[in-house]
Symmetry: C2
Subunit: 354 residues, 2 copies
């Protein structure tokens, strides 16, 4: 098939943290796209970026950039998506949106291809949403376990990377680590790290040599927006409106890759060995679970890779229906750009009849 | 009362990471001790350390150093305690041991004074154990909630500091942070942090710019010793042999102060405001819980202090009998030296009739 027979893709937000990873992903995955248009804010227009080995000039976001576009990916803030995804849809593109603007809209499917790919077809608004990065760090594995055992409860504690707060988060962490690196007295007296790190950037407390039990904005009853996303998005993706979910979201001084400790309870008894075998054969999941040999996933060891990594798989000692696991997923790849690309590829099949 | 009327204390392991904090604690708390003997391995004997503003010469560990001692604290490895705590007890001292050697011995009480101070009297072997630092980071708060609501289940995810692995842990973290501090490309490609950090020290994976889901040694069914301690010690301290506990222990790049995300389920319905009020009045607990004002405990902000800090108190949205909380406790103080000192002070009252 020549490129002219393939669907046209627009990448909106091509110059951002997720957009940059997206261009890398589009350059390395099997190509299903004809023209790829790169779109960003007017101040980035005219920049030349490389995708699929070719230089492409960035266009300023405007209604007419969507003319002739089949699929438009949005890696932009909520308020930009809110305005522009419907405009893209009006112009005939299927919008695949990585913001939080439409995720809980009942007329917008929330899709993880390994879990609910068929939902991409149910898109009355012409928009498909990509889940939050924290939910995405576990949901492929949870979907596989749910199909086998019937999930009833999730207790989730996150170890979230700085890049979840964008390039500013990454820069802030590097700045702070540099400032605390040479004073070996730091970390033993209350506030000495706070005095040393300088600017807090997008975080409400120092992140270097610290952990911060907060991500997102304040919602009802003391919950953070991030914690509610984990609950509400897990329910929607798994099609389990009654799933009981408790999440505590905590930022840790890691550049990229979210980790989660998950306590999952099922309808039926579970077995750690069987769960390990099941997860090892699940698409998009890699099991790394031999602590005696020092094998378990850590963010630094799996960052930059595509799968959801699972280790520390144990049946709860006091509850034969529960598993405890530790999961890692690159929040910029599967947690954002990769899943968006996968959704777009599912939609692309409609145009090519593949 | 003059010093000669007060009980004699021996501090075994006075030169270690916990021992150093112990001397600070003994120097700042209200004094209940007459003579304080400092004891360490032969290679530290002859050193002069300051306690209560006075220089004291360190004595080599030998049976006769316990002659005339009323209370002997042990801040030493398990194998040293195993041999020497019984020798101290034979010589007439009450041994208060901070190692893991005796914690689950049915003839040794495991004591947290705010929770079960009376247990100090039930010591047929003349030994009292101090709990593991991770258990201690939550148990004072859990004890207060249990008394009000009746605890049935705990799901615990830890964010454990490097100093839980002793001075070698602290030094390794500082070494690694220094090595990753200046290269701003690190943390985006699998293994680049591992290549940069140098020696792993006591940790099974890089700790700088990473989190490591492992602490302790491998036990049955994939559990770490640390995870089993959280379960078994919580049951013993709270006097709840049927308590269901699931723990996942994770090391984070923080120098000192363990943090825990806890999902606690009770016999009765709970209310976040009532729990907040109850915890705020519990001895040894401070509530810091106003996320709208950026208030929640973080390790860097509370390290070096005595209380258990509690924030992010929420009732689970899907279970009116469960609370989610985030707790911080200095693992060298309340998690080790302080609780040992508090136990010793309870015992000291037997000698002074206070």
């Amino acid at each position: 098939m020549s490129r002219s027979d393939l669907p046209t893709l627009a990448v909106v937000g091509a110059t951002g943290a997720v957009g940059t990873v997206m261009l890398d992903i589009l350059s390395t995955r099997e190509n299903v796209w004809g023209e790829i248009r790169l779109v960003a804010s007017p101040r980035s227009a005219g920049k030349r970026l490389t995708v699929r080995g070719e230089e492409v000039e960035v266009q300023a976001l405007a209604p007419e950039v969507f003319d002739g576009v089949d699929v438009a990916m949005f890696d932009v803030p909520d308020d930009v998506s809110k305005v522009w995804a419907p405009i893209a849809a009006e112009r005939g593109a299927v919008a695949v949106d990585n913001s939080g603007a439409f995720r809980m809209d009942p007329d917008v499917p929330l899709v993880v291809p390994e879990v609910n790919a068929a939902e991409t077809a149910n898109r009355p608004r012409g928009i498909i949403s990509n889940p939050n990065c924290t939910t995405l760090s576990m949901i492929v594995a949870m979907g596989a376990l749910h199909r086998a055992y019937g999930l009833t409860d999730l207790v989730v504690s996150s170890y979230q990377a700085a890049s979840g707060a964008g390039q500013e988060g990454i820069d802030t962490l590097h700045d702070q680590v540099e400032k605390v690196a040479t004073d070996r007295t730091l970390g033993s007296r209350a506030g000495d790290v706070r005095a040393a790190v300088g600017e807090l950037g997008p975080f409400p407390a120092p992140l270097a040599m610290n952990v911060v039990p907060w991500a997102g904005s304040l919602k009802d009853d003391g919950y953070s927006s991030e914690e509610l996303k984990v609950r509400n998005e897990s329910r929607k993706i798994l099609g389990l409106p009654g799933l009981r979910v408790s999440a505590t979201c905590v930022r840790v001084p890691v550049v990229t890759t979210h980790a989660l400790a998950v306590h999952a309870t099922f309808d039926t008894e579970v077995d750690a060995d069987a769960a390990r075998t099941l997860l090892a054969s699940a698409p998009g999941v890699v099991v790394l679970d031999d602590p005696g040999a020092g094998e378990f996933p850590t963010p630094a060891d799996v960052v930059g890779t595509d799968p959801t990594w699972v280790g520390r798989i144990r049946r709860s000692i006091d509850d034969q229906k529960s598993l405890d696991l530790f999961l890692c997923g690159d929040n910029l790849r599967k947690g954002a750009a990769l899943n968006t690309a996968q959704i777009a590829e599912v939609v692309a099949q409609e145009f090519t009849g593949a």
